[in-house]
Amino acid sequence: MEIAGGLNDGTGEMNESKVEKSAGQDIKIKVLFFARARDLTGVSETSLEMPDGSTAGDCMRNLLVKFPSLQEIYNSMVLAINEEYAAESTLLTSKDELAIIPPISGG
C-alpha cells in the first residue's frame, strides 16, 4: 500500500500541481538527514528541486549524486514522507518533507 505525497494537508498546492502537470513545474522538497545519514552528508537538512511527477526514489537517486557517501546506507535505510514511512515509488508534491532514515536503534 502506498501513500500519495502531499497527504491531506488541505492546501491548494496539490490541486495546483495536478492542474499544472502538463506544464511540468518543478516541485521543492525538504530533505532531512538523521544520525548516520547526517554524519555521511555533513548536513542535517537540504532542499531539492525536482520535476513534477518525481518519486521518492527519484529524489534518492538525486541525493546519491549530491552526497555519494549515502551509498553506504542505501541498502539498509528507509524513507519517510511527511512523517510516514513511504516506498520509493511514492509520488511527491511540492513542500513535501522527505526524511532519510538509517537503521533505527530506539529502546
Partner: protein, 173 residues
C-alpha cells in the same frame, strides 16, 4: 471511539534536558480501578557490548514522526488486545549506564493482555520508531542498528520491493 481511546494513551518523547525518566508518572497514568494488572518494561543502558566498555548512550529522534509512530503503535495494541491505559516514554540525549532510556506501561482487566501489550509496544519501538542511539566507548562511538528494524525491512523488501515499512494497522481508521 479511536480518539477516546487515544486519551488513555500517554506518549512522551523527553528532550535531553529532562533528566531521568519519572517512572512513577507513567505507572500512575496507567493505574485504573478496572485493572487487575499493570505490566511494565524499562530499557536500560548496559555497561558492555562485545567486550567493549560502554561509557554512555546518546539518543536522538525524528521527533514528530516518532510521536506519530508511538501513537499509532498504541492504537495497534488496542486493536489486538482489550486494554485500559497505555504509556510510553523515551528519553533523548545522554543516558548513562544503568539508566532507563525507554519505559512502557500497560494496564488491563487481565494480566495476560497487559503483558502481551507491553511486549508488543517495546518490540514495535525497536522495529519502527525513528529514534537512534550512539554507543560511546572510551576510544570510539558507533550508531547502533536494531535487528528488529533490519529484519522487518528485509521481510518487506522480499514481499514487495515497493512495500512500506509500516505494519498494516489493526485498530486505526
Amino acid at each position: 471511539m479511536a480518539s477516546a481511546a487515544a486519551e488513555m494513551d500517554l506518549v512522551d518523547i523527553l528532550d535531553a534536558s529532562s533528566g531521568p525518566i519519572d517512572i512513577a508518572r507513567y505507572v500512575d497514568f496507567v493505574r485504573d480501578p478496572a485493572a487487575s494488572a499493570i505490566a511494565t518494561f524499562e530499557g536500560t543502558t548496559r555497561d558492555t557490548f562485545e567486550g567493549k566498555l560502554v561509557e554512555e548512550l546518546r539518543y536522538e529522534a525524528y521527533v514528530p514522526m516518532a510521536a506519530r509512530r508511538l501513537a499509532a503503535i498504541c492504537a495497534e495494541a488496542r486493536g489486538s488486545w482489550p486494554l485500559l491505559r497505555l504509556a510510553v516514554a523515551h528519553r533523548l540525549g545522554t543516558v548513562g549506564v544503568g539508566e532507563a532510556s525507554v519505559f512502557v506501561a500497560a494496564s488491563a482487566v487481565h494480566r495476560a493482555e497487559a503483558m502481551e501489550a507491553c511486549r508488543y509496544l517495546i518490540d514495535e519501538v525497536k522495529a519502527s520508531v525513528p529514534i537512534w542511539k550512539k554507543e560511546v566507548y572510551e576510544n570510539g562511538e558507533v550508531w547502533k542498528e536494531n535487528k528488529e528494524f533490519l529484519e522487518r525491512r528485509a521481510a518487506h523488501h522480499e514481499m514487495d520491493p515497493a512495500h512500506e515499512l509500516k505494519e498494516t494497522s489493526n485498530g486505526e481508521d
